[in-house]
Subunit: 498 residues, 2 copies
């Protein structure tokens, strides 16, 4: 097996060279565009605004205040330094018991204490990234598959597939029913896998969904549990956005569903993290919570590869144990996300842009189908490049989320201050105005279409015929969120032109 | 592929069920014994003393003092809190630039600034555990092999093999030359692999060695570089104990060797960590330092699975950047390890126990071959269980380090205070005394042997014939460290009986 010819041997592994890390996705390309020319209100006011990062920067002041009041929680203050040695030395992959207890309580609180979590089932990992990979390593062999509803988080390709060799098979969701997961789509994906002789080991969903910002309703989750229970395959629920739910319908965790639904609990696993709900991505706290003892035991061993810094565990153990603080934090955090969401979507509406109706997350799923030159992913990419280059906003195209319909974009709104958000909104408005004018010139015979104002459901029905005649069919499918906007006015994109 | 029969499908992955995580090793069993009955000077004075953990608890006071004087280094003090938001949000897998700069300088300092490190080649990982797995994922495919000199760190089986599927093939080293790596042993391991049609992708060594506590000399490293360069395979040097070298010969890093030796630098990689050298295992700082751009790029992406908490990066960036402090710390730390090593080995000598002559590490490689009932691993296990159960010390048997000679044990001496060490030494002395008495009764006809006192090399030679006649041959091989103890008295184990 020796390498005889110079350069004939592959020095690195297949994993290192297979480009399956997913970073060639436009999702990450957009980040690079931002990195090369980052917006700054004074130093670089024409730079790219980062709207591709689902960060929660809305509630740091509360944490800062708590830290100021609790110097003992840190091993780096004179009040807490006596714990330095003990904490710096702590490396047990079971995790710091106080921290896991506090985490379990915190997870319960987010779910309105309708369900409780066993600290002994908490497996710590290096962020949701590490947790996601651990669960795949535990459940599936290389070549096995997980079904995942589209659109889904782009980095799933790295986190779930890259080093594990697990395949992700899409369960097709589309705007016709607001991207809800249907039994038919699940069955179809499963059957397709069987036809291709691929072993399906489970389904993974994100609830609340990234990028949709919607929660998965009870009925859908029960259907999912029945589906996986029938097949005796796993259900992994990524619930890392659980505390970002800012309005009704309330979040329902899979932990609640399995209290009501008969199933083999060995098949149920939750991924959690403090990166989104607490806004602490730098602290790298990930969790696998499994009802399967085997997964807990094995996952615990895998923790070794990405343990949470004990310095961080120690601090957060204190913070999360402060019931009064956490109750207030969760309430206020959700309120601030709601306000931010309202401001942002209202601004978009003023620009004539609709988003999928959402109740969670740190982003909107923005419908730019009316701005596409044609309903193709090439056109989506073209529009995206225009938004990056001309509008100087890094938003993430639906294609990178494996969305099957071109024209959707994820836009994050919680990773910046209000002033930056206003600038972003202004840029969007100007852009749409320009695009509208362009389109108006190009499609001058169809002008009336863009002046449509829906008043109510009847109005929609009445005008739809005329509308669809002159515009590409799948822009405004009868099931799209736009045509379904009940009782709301829909201001079309060139409304402001009049 | 559906699971028709109840229970006929394997729910979990092969990795989760293959028991290749290595935790069934006696190395970890000993930890469990300690966990079940941990020593405490007041609460549990007869408990198990943990001597199986290579921790450095000798220098925390210096770090504590530094932290007290530098409140701005922490984001949890009123002086540093203004950085909280920025740091808590920082999740770039490139790592915090200030931290990587400081790490690069620190690594240079340890090597006497004879070599410098490029911060851009530093890939951060979740401890050496995460770093070791990353380098394997980058370099080898599942089924490929790395050669590793024995004895080696037991958790290599978990870190390097478990999830990667990479094989570890032993390069046999033994006490005949103080466990030095020879070209012959390397070639033999390589050829055996070829015969078995196994693709060898590289060699991994630990320098300083765990468990030997010895550094790898220049000539051996040059031989290794020539070996891997000839074969165009990789050389991974685990240098996580580099700052524990407490006496001559000095540590020589592979980074220095490749300055003097012609080779393809794409083949050279270093694993580093702050767990041993700084005594900060809880902080989970691991490093892959590679001279191969492909590995740096790919490893960086893999960082995502085990990023270092930004809270920790921020603190350590300040601490490691303080040249004056670090210079003093490295000097004083080595001095304290030297003192501890001296105290411990002197105590062992008084009990008639010799260790491999070492110059680094937080442990000794203790030669208990004279205490074995017979020179087998069964006897080693029996002795080990006796030490755990009766002597109540968790030491680690050579078998768990894949040592090919029974009777060697790794004993850690830096993870406890001086008082506990003294109790451990007392227990060892009492045990050897008891074992000696037992042995004396059993082997009463051979009593004279145990009364041997070596005065010098001539004395050894003279008495060796008589000695070896009446005792199992490989207990006292002519190359063993015992018979090689130049100019030192060797008090045999029942000397105190007289």
């Amino acid at each position: 097996m020796e390498c005889k010819k110079k350069g004939s041997c592959q020095l690195l592994s297949k994993i290192a060279t297979n480009e399956q890390h997913g970073e060639n996705s436009s999702y990450f390309d957009g980040w690079k565009a931002y990195d090369n020319d980052p917006f700054h209100p004074i130093r670089n006011p024409n730079g790219v605004i980062q709207m591709g990062l689902a960060e929660n920067q809305l509630s740091f002041d509360m944490m800062e205040e708590w830290i100021r009041k609790h110097p003992k929680a840190s091993i780096c203050t004179s009040e807490g330094l006596n714990m330095f040695k003990y904490i710096a030395n702590f490396q047990d992959y079971h995790g710091w018991a106080d921290f896991k207890n506090a985490l379990a309580r915190f997870m319960g609180k987010i779910r309105g204490d309708r369900v409780s979590f066993d600290p002994d089932r908490i497996v710590l990992a290096g962020g949701a990234t590490g947790a996601s990979e651990i669960i795949m390593f535990c459940l599936a062999d290389s070549g096995d598959a997980f079904l995942v509803p589209t659109p889904y988080y782009p980095a799933f390709d790295r986190d779930l597939k890259w080093r594990t060799g697990v395949q992700l098979l899409p369960v097709i969701c589309n705007s016709s029913n607001n991207f809800m997961i249907t039994k038919e789509a699940l069955e179809e994906a499963y059957e397709n896998a069987q036809k291709s002789n691929i072993k399906v080991k489970g389904v993974i969903i994100a609830n609340p969904s990234n990028p949709l910002g919607t929660t998965v309703d009870k009925e859908t989750q029960k259907m999912l549990v029945n589906f996986i229970n029938d097949k005796q395959i796993h259900l992994v629920c990524d619930e890392i956005y659980s505390a970002t739910v800012f309005r009704r319908p309330n979040f329902v965790s899979i932990a609640e569903i399995i209290q009501e639904t008969e199933c083999n609990r060995d098949l149920i696993h939750i991924i959690y993290s403090l990166s989104k709900d607490m806004g602490l991505p730098g602290f790298r706290v990930g969790v696998v919570y499994s009802y399967n003892d085997g997964v807990v035991n094995c996952g615990r061993k895998m923790s070794s590869f990405g343990l949470v810094s004990s310095q961080t565990q120690h601090l957060l153990a204190s913070m999360l144990s402060d019931d009064e603080f956490i109750d207030e934090f969760l309430k206020e955090n959700a309120k601030r996300i709601a306000e931010r969401h309202f401001t942002f979507t209202k601004g978009l509406e003023e620009a004539g842009i609709k988003c999928l109706n959402s109740n969670a997350g740190l982003f909107c799923w923005m419908d730019l189908r009316p701005l596409l030159k044609e309903q193709t992913f090439d056109a989506e990419m073209e529009l995206w490049r225009q938004i990056i280059t001309d509008v100087k906003l890094n938003v993430s195209p639906g294609f990178s989320f494996h969305c099957v319909e071109p024209g959707w974009f994820r836009v994050c709104f919680a990773n910046m201050d209000r002033e930056t958000l206003d600038i972003a909104l202004k840029r969007i408005k100007n852009f749409v105005k320009g695009a509208g004018k362009k389109k108006e010139r190009k499609n001058s015979g169809k002008r009336i279409i863009f002046e449509l104002v829906f008043q109510n459901e009847e109005d929609v029905t009445m005008k739809k015929h005329e509308f669809t005649k002159s515009y590409h069919a799948n822009v405004m499918s009868p099931h799209s969120p736009i045509s379904q906007s009940q009782g709301q006015d829909l201001i079309m994109i060139i409304k402001h032109d009049h």
